[in-house]
Amino acid sequence: MRARKVCLIGDFAVGKTSLVSRFVHSTFGEQYLTTVGVKIDTKEVCLPSGDSVKLVLWDIAGKSEFAPIDTSYLRDAAGYLLVADGTRVETLHSAVELQASVERQLGRVPFGLVLNKADLEDRWALDRNRLAAVDLRGWRVGRTSALNGNGVETAFAQLGAQLMHET
C-alpha cells in the first residue's frame, strides 16, 4: 500500500488542524492553538473500490495578512485540500488565490475544497451567490464540521480516491 502526501491549505483559523484531529484522532478542541510550521499525521482510508490508501497529512500553518503560506512544505505533495471557513467570506477568496499559486508549483494534481464550520449555521456567510461569484466550476466542494464530524471522512476519502485514480 502506497502512501500519499496531502497538504492542508487555507487561511489561519479556518480549521485545518481541527479537521485533521477529527479525522485522525476523532477529537475536537474549542480552543484555538495556531500551527507554527507543519504538523504531520498519517491515516489510512478505505476507498469505495475496497482498496485503501495511506494519507500523510501535512497540516501547514495558515495564511494571514502578515504571513504567506510557506510553500517549501508543498514539495512532493500528491494532492491538497483547500480549507475555507464558511463564516468568513474572505477565506474563500484566499482559497481560490492559494489554489492558483499551489497549482503553479505542483502542477495539476488532485485537490478538493471544504467549507468548514458547517455547524455554525446562523453565522454562515457562503450562500449560493457567493459560491457562484468566486467561480468554482469543476471543483469538488464539500461542507465539513470538525466540531461534529459531518462531511470530514467523506472529504478525505474523496481526495484519496482521486489520488488513486491518478496513478
Partner: protein, 496 residues
Amino acid sequence: MSGGLQSLRQHINRILTRQTRPLYLVVDDTLRLVEWRGDGSHYGLESLQAGAPLDERLAPILPIDEQETRAHAWRFVQLAGAPPCHVHVIRLDGGWGVAMLDAGAEHAAQLAQQQSTHELLLLRREREALIAELEQANRLKSRFIAGMSHEFRTPLTSIIGYSDQLREIRPDDRETQHHLNAVGRGARYLLNLVENLLDQARSEIGPLQLHPGACELAEISTEVEQLLRPVAGQRQLSLAWWFASDIPARLWLDAIRLKQVLINLVGNAIKFTEQGGVNVEFDWQDGRLQVAVADTGPGIDEADAAVIFEPFRQTAGHNQAKGAGLGLTISQALVQAMGGEVRLNTRKGEGSRFEFSIDAPAVRGGRGGEGGSLADKKIVIADDDPDLLELFRLWLSSAGCRVETARDAASTLEIARRVRPDAVILDLDLGGDDGAAVAAELGAGERHCKIVILSAAPNDPANERQLPDVIDARWTKPISRTELLRGLAALIADTG
C-alpha cells in the same frame, strides 16, 4: 593560550548540543537503521537498534526523488510523540542520513507571537462584522422611522386644517374657540415632533433638502407665537419678540424649516425655564438673518453643553426631561443646511442664549398678486386623501374659487379637459398614480392652466426626483389656508 580556539569551539558545541539534542540517523534504502548517535527516545524512537525498521517515522519526511536530492531541510516539523524540530536530510550511497534538532524553544517563541497576532486579527474581524451589522440595522430603523413619520403627517395636517376651519365658522363661541385652539396646538406640537423624527431619520440616510421661497418673517414668528404663547402663559413666563428696524418685509428662505427651528429652540427654552421668560431677537445684515433665543433658565454646564447637539440627549439634572431629545440636533442640522451654525452661550445659573444666522436675501418688489381676487377662478385639485381634498375645497371655495376635486390620474385629466381650469394643484402621490406624470401630460398639450405640485413633505424622498419642467410652482404640505390662497393668488389672480 595555545588551544584556546579549540576550547571555545568545544564549549559552544556542548551548549548547542544541550539545546538542540541532535539525533543522527543513517538508514539504508529500505529505511532500516544502520547507525545512529543521540537520544532516540527524545524523538519518540525508543530503544534503537541496528536493523530496526524506521519507515513509519521517516517515510513521510524523506524526499521522493532519490536520484536528484542531495540535501534537504524542513523547518518546524511536528511529528507525533516528538517535540517541534528542524529536520536535515542528505542522500547517501544506498541510503539516507537524517538529523533531527529540537526547535522547541524557538517554536514556542514564534507560537506566542503568531497566536496573539491571529487572535487580534480575529477580534478585529468580528468587530468589523458587528459594526456592519449595526449600521445595517440602523439604516433599517431610520427608514422605518422616516416611513412612519410620513404616515403621521397627513392626518395631522387634516386635524390642524379642520380645527382652523371650525374656528372660523364659529368666531363668537368662546368656549369652542378655546377647545379648538387646544386641539390645533396639540396637533401642531405633534407635527413638529414628527417632523423632527423624520428629519433625523432622513439625515441619517442622506442630506436634508431645503425648499426656500419668498416669505414674511412676521408671519413665521406669529405662527410660532400662537403655538407657544399658551405654553409660556401656563408657566407664567414672558415670551417677547424683538425685530431690528431694517429687516426687509420679505425674505427668501425655507419658512417651514425656519419655523421648525424656532419651535424647537423657543419650545426648549420655555420647557427649561422656571422664572422670567424667553426673548427672541431678529436682526438682518448683508443678506443674512440673525436670530437669538435667550432665556432666564438654569443655564447649562460645560459638560452638558458639549453634547447638547447630539441626538437623543437630555441634559442630566433636568427633572422634566420630556420630548424625544431630537429638537436641538435637528435644529443644528437644519441651520447648517441653511448656511449657518447654532451656537450656545451659557453659564450654569445664568440662562442660555442660542444664536444662529442663515442665508436670507431680501425679496424685492411688492407682494406679487396679493390683494388680487380669486373669485370665479376654476381650480382642479387632486389628492388621494379625501379629508384633505375636502379641506382644500372648503378653503378655495371660501375665496370664491370654483373647485373640482379628483383622487386619481385619470379623473384629474378628464376633469381638466372638461372644465379648462385656471390652475391644477397636484399631489405627487395619487394613490397608485404618479402626480408628476399627470403634470407632464397636462403640460404637453396646449397650455391653458397653471400647474402646481403640492407634495407631502419637503424632505420626502419622492421629492428629490426630477420633476417635469412644466410646473409653475411647487408647494409642500402641511400648508395653511393663507399660504394656499396667497400662493394661488400670486399665480392666477386678477390684479387691479
